[in-house]
Symmetry: D2
Subunit: 271 residues, 4 copies
């Protein structure tokens, strides 16, 4: 199976970059599954139902969220009606929506996508390791599903690396989001799980993690409310990771980053 994961889509330029490039990528890379993190797609804060639909129309199969899941209040009412949008699984019981979804693919294949949020330097969610473990206990990689993707939305690199190792051999890909910075540490772990600490952001990198520079800098330098944070509106990059898995085992065979447009060094898989 050929899988593309794209990191946090930030604001108008981020989503326009994804929407314009994804159909071509889907064909060019013969993708079977596309997962995107959409938690910042609506003006940098949250995802609207309409933008979610635009991303599905462009070729996303699943949209993950994160700590900005509910910034758009209309997502609270919408998420139960759209199982392809998932929020972190370790919200407390009773939270709208689901933390994972099984999507049918071509050839009768199925993929399980899980969203989970870290706790280090973040809000006090339920235990992300148990949340993932609970979901995995209900599926079998290579048997009931042909691929499993875990989006670990977290601040601390240590927590993401720990999640990667805990999942090694049990999922196809553990990939981080939230820091809006792509990492160069992608690797297939010893037992066959592909890992990258952060997929990076789809948005304008001439910014402070996607937001306009001046307002963001002012927050660090002055300790007063200032200009509202607004997504930067220059040339956007899309950033993510492609993984090719073995359908018999669901484990990773090859992986390579995708970084196109904007200010990032450009790279595409050669497979």
């Amino acid at each position: 199976m050929r899988i593309l994961f794209l990191g946090d889509i930030v604001g108008r330029v981020g989503r326009e970059a994804v929407i314009s490039r994804l159909p071509g990528l889907r064909a060019e890379l013969s993708l079977d599954l596309v997962v995107v993190n959409g938690e910042n797609a609506s003006h940098g804060f949250g995802l609207s139902p309409a933008i979610g639909q635009d991303l599905f129309n462009a070729g996303a199969d699943v949209i993950t969220l994160g700590n900005h899941s509910w910034d758009r209040r209309d997502m609270i009412g919408h998420i139960d009606a759209e199982p392809r949008i998932i929020r972190p699984a370790n919200y407390p019981p009773g939270t709208p929506g689901q933390g994972s979804v099984v999507v049918p693919l071509v050839n009768g294949h199925k993929a399980l996508v899980i969203s989970v949020m870290g706790r280090q330097f973040m809000d006090a969610m339920d235990d992300p390791f148990r949340a993932v473990s609970d979901i995995l206990s209900r599926h079998r990689l290579g048997v009931t599903v042909q691929a499993i993707i875990v989006d670990v939305h977290a601040e601390a690199t240590s927590e993401k690396w720990a999640m990667g190792h805990v999942c090694d051999g049990r999922v196809s890909l553990v990939i981080g989001t939230h820091t809006h910075t792509p990492t160069a540490d992608h690797r297939i772990f010893p037992k066959g799980t592909a890992f990258q600490t952060d997929a990076g952001m789809c948005g304008d990198y001439d910014s402070v993690i996607g937001m306009g520079k001046d307002a963001a800098i002012a927050r660090f330098v002055r300790k007063m409310p200032g200009e509202r944070l607004q997504p930067a509106e220059g040339d956007a990059s899309i950033a993510g990771m492609m993984v090719e898995t073995d359908d018999a085992t669901g484990l990773a065979r090859r992986m390579a980053p995708v970084r196109l447009g904007g200010h990032l060094a450009q790279t595409m898989p050669d497979f």
Copy 2:
């Protein structure tokens, strides 16, 4: 000027990788200046005077530290005697050592290296932006010094990006450390400053940010003291960034990552 910066050296395998490879790299890449972050070189916690000397002998010109500056108590007494080891500049007044150093290079060139620590999700240090600004006010890039390197030792990507933009045009390179994860967002900013959110770690990446997997995972999963954290001891990578600057302006002309050995995808500058 040709500059190499290597990220946090972790434990025995990290420092052995640096010490064995640095002399060759220095020659092969015609390096004029080598800066390494040594805050985890001694068993993962701090830098000993002897290990510092080993790193200088291998070709480092300056060693930067971070939040682990004083884990080895003997560094407290040693740092004032060794100005080439610098600790973050935004420690309070009266802290031993210095937060920056000017090192003489060949051809009568001089380079200023600054260490500074972020505050987001970290200890309450003095303002890092003012600390850097104060130091920069005493030097002129391209005039009094031919290169300026800022090691921004910080957790949050946003704080590092903000520091990069604030320094754009005033220094040669702003490079992050501390997360032990190399980022793929290196770029020369509009006014000529090279930037990378994190240089990555020199150590064993089959680990949790350089430390043994089991003990590190246990800290997230159980909430009890367990096994002591120990540096992982498998194949180490060295990770960092090479920058070529214009001696007349001190600004960056080219930059490319260096990642050698161990489990990382290998890369070397082609210039």
Copy 3:
């Protein structure tokens, strides 16, 4: 039922004050139940089995712990053998010990004591509100147990007040620990639960929350390791709260602080 709760016992002087005064108080106040927080009784960090026994011998019925539960490693092996020592209930499944205990009292009465830890500004434990709710679902105040005491070991006043209100009418007393500072906001809530944000510390208040002043101040002023924190060793106060409950309902009828010895303004219940 007449209940005394004493806050965090800190170091030698704290435990000596408790051990010397508790037998007299037990008699003088006709106490039916004594609960003490012992997380700092052993040199300020943790509780040893032997000190636990000393506190039981002096008249404690139950000892609660907190974030320092495991500072003394011998408690890890001991706690399962001594059900009267409880650690916060919201540690993850598999943690040694229990988060609550039912103790038999005179007259065939029984009391349930619960320990729980907050998450605001603290480690990422399981949800304390669900943990308390789960335990309460297995007991009925005034029916299966005649009194229920909740020790909410937390940093943030807001989280403690929230826990108090959530428990109102369902338990006899919600009392905070951890800040080592007695609060003057004790009150019987509308539905009958007695509440105090923090019971305060049993220890030397001429200190920084029980530890020697100079070393503790240095931690704020300098950002370097310094002298080890040691419990202050001057005159100790004991600090806590007395509550009288109605045996038929288990709810609070009267409450009054107990503060004796040392530097605190002295106060004793007049009932």
Copy 4:
């Protein structure tokens, strides 16, 4: 000199309680100086210029702020015109307003009032200990000013106790604010400085630190945006501390809490 300090005034019922009671207290207690913390007076978030004027009219001499200083944007423009409203001194240079003020009193006496903010579990301000020390270096207690009051607006009890001890003998009163919970640990330190960890809140204590219970509890139990936090509107208490100082030395002779109205145990100084 006879001094009254009142803690954080929260919302309409808090300010009405202060405004209605302060004129009577000023006469009854023969107060020379009244300082109130006003950071939550405007709907729980910030202080408006008009409410500031109401508090001055009711008898306040100085109003201190805290982390909510700028919640009301109109305070940013107003504070430079009203030196009797002070914000924490350890905001960065260039912040509007002042962190201290000397107010003239009857008999030619003068009092210095300082506001400062802690950093533990709070935003990364400048060093509060150096900020206070800098201000104190420009005054002499008992010589240039007859009283010095320090409002230490902080979350952690340890940081407040440390500030108290650092100031002992150099100021009349160190009093905490921000936790909205009065503490029962008031005491005159060995060198003559009166201290209380927190003055408490002027507001409705049948709440979660002054805000409506249901919305505040929901924030802990659910992890979603819910109802907006609104100040509770039931019976309000005023809470604070009275100190009598020696005009020759400026040090404290006597201190006693003031808690009137609402749900707190009532207490008034007997001197």
